[in-house]
Amino acid sequence: MTPLVSIENVDMRYGGPDGTLAVSGLNLKINRGEFIAVVGPSGCGKSTLMKLTTGLHIPQSGVVIVGNEQVTKPVSIVGMAFQNPTMFPWRTTLENILLPLEIVERHRHRLRRHKAEYVAKAEKLLETVGLKGFGDKYPWQLSGGMQQRANLCRALIHEPELLMLDEPFGALDAFTREELWCVIRDLHATQDVTIVLVTHDLRESVFLADKVVVMSARPGRVISENVVPFERPRQLELLYDPAFNEMVQRLHGEIATARSAA
């Protein structure tokens, strides 16, 4: 089976020839249906990896292939939750969540006639992330964590084949976070979706992913790929399993080494 995403020997430099070399010699393959978590020290190029995959940035050297095609412009099969919640302040939360439907080819022609159906779906999503009744509020009337959850809904609404989540739970309390882990876990279990999750929370990465990818300090490249051995479906009790903690610790050590190597 050819991988859904294939990143081959990619270099990406920001701001011209003398700019910051963000990633260098980056190699990664992601199979269809896989759940990948990407971890690594801050500033190592994780967000850059996400933007390269979605075609928001085009690498200076190397190739990125998504769904058998080389990426030369933004690809349309993805749903992306950006690291900073980028809700549009002139739209209500609900309108923000419906935004992808106004753009994505598959939905935009159906939107007007099936509006009610889509609104119901958006409200269902809001409910799952604990934002029931906040649809008609403006984003700036929500807290940081609430915006982040709305941001997640926007990435999900159009049921993308490839879901890219850049630290989607960073601003949440431990309980809400665990709730949303289960939401994402169930989404991955029930739907045919490939997920890439960037996170700083190693427990999150081990709990959710099939494979944890560790990146080196900047310029980032993949230093190890760790298959997570735990059976699915995983329950939250797994977090207290010795084997689970052992794996978290091992990853922790690896990142510590990567940081000091820089």
């Binding site: 979605t54 549009f88 753009i103």
Partner: protein, 265 residues
């Protein structure tokens, strides 16, 4: 700040901030009146406010007629400037290349004193309403163009990325982000533009018209009727404040999201 509910305030407390504009205006007139009276300046140099109000009552009919004419030319020129400014602003902001290429030309155009154009307009269109409208238009459309174009040119790349990641076309980005995002800039510029439009129409009326406040003041001046000149100025100030307030209100109505702190209730 209007955030604390007024119910929690003691009912007898006077809202000095709201009253301030009125009190300061009255204060200005009082000081003016006293100053002129004490110094004994003749009203052919600086008339007292009471003398000016007298003139307003005395010449009410021509003042009203000319005020309406000036308001008409100003608003018409301003409306053309709004339509043209919005269109050209969106066009310039559409691409970085167009922005880079046209911006210096616009700046150069704006540097030309518009008074200098009035004679040309008179040659083309004769004296009267048309040059006044056009001068109001020419002088007020630049801030609108610049603001709209700047609003478009300064969109944060992150905001654009949200749409680009969905495979959006340039037109989608323009409609979903560009235009809403530049609206606060656009509506903000209307306040500046309407004030400038008055400058344009009055300048043109002063040199090339048979009616309007500009022409009325020019002829009053040549008759040494200084109180009437000041009456004209006062009418202009009133019209200017009224239109400015209207634009401020429109701005607030249309782009409430950009004034979020005052909206939070």
């Amino acid at each position: 700040m209007s955030t604390n509910p007024s119910a929690s305030r003691p009912p007898f407390k006077i809202n000095w901030v709201r009253l301030a504009p009125l009190l300061y205006t009255i204060g200005l007139f009082v000081i003016w009146e006293i100053g002129v009276r004490l110094s004994g300046l003749p009203h052919t140099i600086l008339p007292t406010p009471t003398r000016i109000f007298e003139a307003i009552v005395q010449y009410w009919s021509p003042i009203w007629k000319n005020s309406m004419q000036t308001l008409y030319t100003t608003v018409l020129g301003f409306l053309i400037a709004v339509v043209a400014g919005l269109g050209i602003g969106l066009f310039i902001g559409w691409s970085k290349t167009i922005y880079a290429g046209l911006y210096p030309i616009m700046v150069g155009f704006n540097a030309i004193p518009k008074v200098a154009l009035v004679p040309i307009l008179v040659i083309w269109f004769g004296i009267g309403t048309v040059p006044a409208v056009l001068t109001a238009f020419l002088i007020s459309f630049f801030p609108i163009v610049v603001n709209v174009a700047t609003g478009l040119a300064t969109i944060e790349p992150e905001t654009e990325d949200v749409l680009r990641a969905l495979g959006a076309k340039k037109l989608d980005i323009m409609l979903k982000v560009g235009i809403p995002r530049s609206m606060p800039y656009f509506f903000g510029s209307l306040k500046v533009a309407i004030t400038l439009a008055f400058v344009g129409s009055v300048v043109s009326e002063t040199v090339a018209s048979n009616n309007g406040l500009g022409q009325m003041m020019a002829s009053a001046q040549s008759n040494f009727n200084v109180p009437l000149v000041f009456a004209g100025l006062l009418m202009l100030a009133v019209e200017g404040i009224a239109m400015y307030a209207l634009m401020a209100w429109v701005e607030k109505r249309m782009t409430g999201w950009a004034h979020r702190s005052t909206m939070a209730h």
